[in-house]
Structures are given as structure tokens and as C-alpha cells.
């Protein structure tokens, strides 16, 4: 589904990604862990098509297509979704209006009929209930004044609505209380399936107890320095990155 080869990226004259190789096949869930500042969010932003990064080298194939040649909105319409580490507030724009427009842009691209307000609301309410979210958030300006946990859940809610093929979650678990974490994990698990792949960026092994990954990678100083199965996450939790992240032989 996603194939990253020797990806190098700079921002503001600094090398942040220094040769990333990573493949996430369809149907699999991979986790990326790594110290603060190692480049995890940068990788997520580069994959989602944020401007301002200089891609010096490397290529990324998404479902067989050249991902880096697409604009951010094309990537989203093609089914790539990023749950932001820091969701952005947009004053004055209601969550419902925003998401309905986004969903219809994606549906149009897929050749599906657009949803009207009533169909949209019906669907949104079901999805929100599953995530234990208050429906009233729909009428509020996007993320404005949302609590930290509400923002994170709102990301997963959007993901559930847009039904992407590739889900990129950047520290969605940070800032969630235990009950919310379970609800979000259930939401993520519900979306696992043969046609979909996921990359979870996280600092905590706890998320991976609920959403069991097929592989775990350690990102350090802009490179994947170690990969393993889910036990690697526990090892990291116990020993810390310094003790566990010895480069692959």
C-alpha cells in the first residue's frame, strides 16, 4: 500500500529525514516510535503533502502511484488520511460544514454521489456515538475551544467518515484519558481490514496493547534504526530509546 524508499527531507536548511525506508503492505498496521524531535511528525507531514519541505531524494509509492507528485488534496482524495498530532483550530467554520464539504470532495473523486445535509448528519451521528463524542461538537467551530481529548477524537471521527485506504495517526493517543483511549482504539480496530493499511506514530506501548501492530519501527535522527514485532514496543518501554535502539546489525 505504502512504500517509502530512501526518503530525505530538509526544512529550513536542516536535514530532518535522512534516508527513510519503510513498507506498509495492505491489511497491515505498523507502529513508529522514536524520541522527541526524531522526525516522526515531519515524516507524517511529508507523506500528507505539506508544503515547505525540500525533498532531496527518495520516492514514495502509494497504491502504486507516485505520492510525492500529488498535491495534498489529491492525496486525501486518493485515500490518504493524517490524524494530526496538533489538530488545527478554524474559527467561524462549523465542524459539520467542514466535514460535509470534505466528505463530498472525497466522494466525488471516488465517483460516489454526494451526501445531502440530512444523510450526512445521520451518518455523522452514528460515527460520533461510537467514539463517545458529544453531537453538539458538530455545530461548533472546527476544533475551536475543543479539549485536547475532544480534538484527538475529532480526528478519528473524521477518519471514520472519510474512510481512507491509508491511515496515518500522529500521536493520537497522547492526551486521551483511559476510557477515551479504549474508544479510539476500538474505532481504529473497526477500520482494520484487508484493503486498508495504517501507520501509528506513538510514544506509548499502551495504545499498541489495544491496537496490536504487525510491525514496530524505531525512528531516530531521521532514519529507521530498528524494526521488529510488537515485543519491540515493550522493550522500548522498559529500556528507553537509548538502551533499546541499537542500530540494526
Amino acid at each position: 500500500m505504502l512504500e517509502i524508499r530512501d526518503l530525505h527531507a530538509r526544512v529550513e536548511g536542516r536535514d530532518i529525514l535522512r534516508g527513510i525506508d519503510l513498507t506498509v503492505p495492505a491489511g497491515e498496521v505498523h507502529a513508529v516510535m522514536g524520541p522527541n524531535g526524531s522526525g516522526k511528525s515531519t515524516l507524517a507531514h511529508v507523506l500528507a503533502g505539506r508544503e515547505g519541505y525540500e525533498i532531496q531524494r527518495g520516492r514514495v509509492l502509494f497504491a502504486g502511484r507516485d505520492l510525492l507528485a500529488m498535491s495534498a488534496e489529491e492525496r486525501a482524495r486518493e485515500g490518504l488520511f493524517l490524524a494530526f498530532q496538533y489538530p488545527v483550530e478554524i474559527p467561524g467554520l462549523s465542524t459539520a460544514l467542514f466535514l460535509k464539504a470534505a466528505l463530498n470532495a472525497v466522494r466525488k473523486h471516488r465517483g460516489e454521489p454526494e451526501l445531502d445535509a440530512i444523510e450526512f448528519l445521520a451518518l455523522a451521528k452514528v460515527r460520533m456515538a461510537r467514539l463517545g463524542m458529544d453531537e453538539r461538537l458538530l455545530q461548533r467551530p472546527l476544533n475551536e475551544g475543543f479539549s485536547g481529548g475532544e480534538k484527538k477524537r475529532n480526528e478519528i471521527f473524521q477518519m471514520a467518515m472519510l474512510e481512507p485506504r491509508f491511515c496515518l495517526l500522529d500521536e493520537t493517543d497522547s492526551g486521551l484519558d483511559i476510557d477515551a483511549l479504549k474508544l479510539v482504539a476500538d474505532g481504529v480496530n473497526a477500520m482494520r481490514g484487508p484493503g486498508r493499511a495504517m501507520l501509528l506514530i506513538t510514544h506509548y506501548e499502551r495504545l499498541l496493547e489495544y491496537v496490536v501492530p504487525d510491525a514496530v519501527h524505531v525512528l531516530s535522527q531521521g532514519r529507521i534504526v530498528r524494526s521488529g514485532d510488537r515485543t519491540l514496543a515493550r522493550e522500548l518501554e522498559e529500556k528507553g530509546y537509548a538502551g533499546a535502539a541499537a542500530p540494526r546489525p
Binding site: 508544503e51 494530526f84 488545527v88 467561524g92 467554520l93 470532495a105
Partner: protein
Amino acid sequence: MPAEAKKVRDLLSPEYKFGWTADIEAESAPRGLSEDTVRLISAKKGEPDWLLEWRLRAYRQWRTMVEPRWSNVTYPPIDYQDIIYYSAPRSAKDGPKSLEEVDPKLLEVYAKLGIPLKEQERLAGVAVDAVLDSVSVATTFKEKLGSLGIVFCSFSEAVREHPELVRRWLGSVVPHTDNFFAALNSAVFSDGSFAYIPKGVRCPMELSTYFRINAADTGQFERTLIVAEEGAYVSYLEGCTAPRRDTNQLHAAVVELVALDDAEIKYSTVQNWYPGDAEGRGGIYNFVTKRGRCLGRRSKISWTQVETGSAITWKYPSCILQGDDSVGAFYSVAVAANRQQADTGTKMIHLGRNTRSTIVSKGISAGRGQNTYRGLVRIQKGAAGARNYSQCDSLLLGDQCGAHTFPTVEVHNPTARLEHEASTSKIGEDQLFYCRSRGLSAEDAVSLIVAGFCKEVFKELPMEFAVEARKLLGVSLEGAVG
């Protein structure tokens, strides 16, 4: 011109109906402004003496005044002696012969706004024989209004047909001495609109300059007067969402509204004059004086405006709340993109008891645009129990533009209650990336955000107008991001 086409044209343009066009078609006044210019204009229009005297008083006053420079806009000095103050209505042969001769950029915008071809030709000033459709619309429209006693015509026609009404109310809200631009307008105004709604009549349709003007060019000094008698109601629409070009750079219009006991006037404007190119060259300077007088008890006047055009906008639609329990409102969206400068706002002057006013101002700045809100709420001594609510929001698209607010409050009665809210939000790269990462293009994202930002104002506009205005904002701000 074939007879049939001429008939159509006569119906559409009141000027032709009165047969004075032929006399003046060849002529225009020499450049510059003097008493003679004023006399010439008045004579050409066959005006009564009192109106000429009124114009002359305005002219003499204007000569003693200096152009205001307090607003937050900059422009090169205007040479008032280099302007032609009177010219015959532009005849068809001066305009482009077909849409192929019209600036493709303009046509592109028309297409985006979904304006029908015939309409595009009219807006671009192409010489066309009027479509029969719009003739019948205009005619039925006039008949229907006439049967209710409503007068709705050009200002010149009103001077000829209803001189007593014009004489009674002209200058009663904006005196000819009011300000530099209003005095200039009073001296040289070319034409404009007049509406009179008799006692107890509710105007059954939105009055729109669109129906009246059609092919006519009202010129750069436009004058509008609307009077609503006791218990009357009217909703008036000015302007057009399509961009309009004009060879005259300076525009100085005056609009006066008068509402008697229990009357209500809703005045909505969509202003989309040519803003100039990306560097601001060639745009219209729009210096407008708009004011309403709530003369009667429980009368209501509301101004709703969507200002997207012009290189410079200088405009403060105001309400004088004279009658007890009268209500004034100002709802505004003003856009300043590229090099545009907008200095706009309102004045609410509370004179009567228990008068109420609402101000909702939404300023959008993009590119290198500068947007200024300037407002005054004055509660006079006698205005016991007066209330005002003001809300003043700014939206910045990008980081090279600016928003400025200058709200002023003067309270001379201790029982007054005033509330003020203000906010500034910025749409930057972060917000746009967030939207794009969900599948929305930057343009779609901006129009969504802007529509959300403006919704309190749009809901005051008549339905179809609101839909158009929303589209218009999208088009105006296209390219303002990313």
C-alpha cells in the same frame, strides 16, 4: 436602429422615453468644475430653479471645503478640475461590439459567477438589443408597483414627475453641506434612483436598481432617495455581484433614506466595482455617503453591505435614530485583497428614547489589502434607555495584509447600555494544510471559512442575493492564498 429595437430601448431607459436624449447626445461639458458646469448640468436635465439653486449652494459650499484625509487610505491627489462632470449617456457605439472585444479576464469572472451570456453582454457594455424577456419583466414590474402607489424610478424622472416629494426630502438626511464628497455630489449628481412607498404599503418585491437601470449608465455621481411613509415597508437592493468597470475613477454617491412612524427600510448592497489589477492600478475610488433617518417612532432602517470591489472604499452607512423606539442596524462584509484599501463602518446616532442599534462588521483582508473598521456610537442626552450592540471581527488571509479597528463611543445619557465584542482570526498555512489534508482545495477551504465568517451578515441579505454574494467572495479571494 430598427424600430422594434428602439421601442425596446425606450422601455428600458426612462431617459429615452422623455425624449431629451437626442438634444444632449452629442455634447459633454468641458473638463473642470465651475458654477457654469453646475448650471449646464441642471439645464441639460431641464431642472426646476429650486434644484439649480440647491446645486449651486452645494457647489459654493464645496469650494470652501477640503478633501478629508483622516481615513486610513492612501491615494494620489485627485485633480477635480480634470474631471468631465457632464457627458451624454454613453451611446452604444462607444462600447465593445461583442464579447470578443471584452477583456477575457472579466469574462472569466462572469463565467465563474454563472452569469448568463446576455447578462454578460449588458454588464460589459456590449451594444445589444435588449432581450424581450427582460422587457416584459420590467414592464409587469412597473405596473404592479404603480397599482400600489409605489413610485420607483430614476432620480431625473422623479424630479420631473414628483417634484414636491423630491423637494421635501432631498438633503433632509445628508445636507448639501455635509462633507466634501456629499457636497460635490449635490452640486453635480448625474442621476440615481428614487423610491417612495406610501402609507401602510408593504412593497411586495425587492426593489432593485437592476430592473430600473438596465442599459443606462448612472455615472459617477449617483444620488438615491428612498422615503417610506407611516407603516410602509421596503427592501431595496443596490448593485450587482458581477464586476463592473467604469472609465471614471472617482465615484462619489449619496444615498438618503427616510422612515416615518412604524416604517421599515432594508437597504442591501453588493458592491463590486473594478478593484484594479494586482498592483492596484486602474481601480475605482468609491467615496460614498449613505445615511438613514429613523424619523418616526418605532421605525427601522438596516444597512447590509457586501463590499468586494473598488481600489478604495470610503463608506459609512449610518442611522440617525430620531423617533422614540426606533431601530438601526448595520451588517457589513468588507473585503480588501491585493492592493485594495477599505475604510468602512457606520455611525449610530441615538436621539430618541429607547432607541436600539446593532452593528455587525466583518472585515476580510487578503494579499496586501488593508481593511479598516471605523465606527461611532453616540448616545445623545435625550436618548434614555438607548442600547447598542457592536461586533467587529477581522479575518486575515496570509500575513501581508492588515486589519484596523477604530470604534468610538460617546455617551451622554447614563441609562444607555452598550456592548462591544471584537475578534481577529488569521487563516494561515496551517489552517489551509489541515483543510487540504481532508480533500478540500485551498480555494474551497477559503470560501468555506469565509462563508462561515460572514454568515451573520449573509443571513440579512435576501436569499438569492446571499447565494450570489457567497460565490462572489469565493471568486474575489481566489488566488489570495497559496
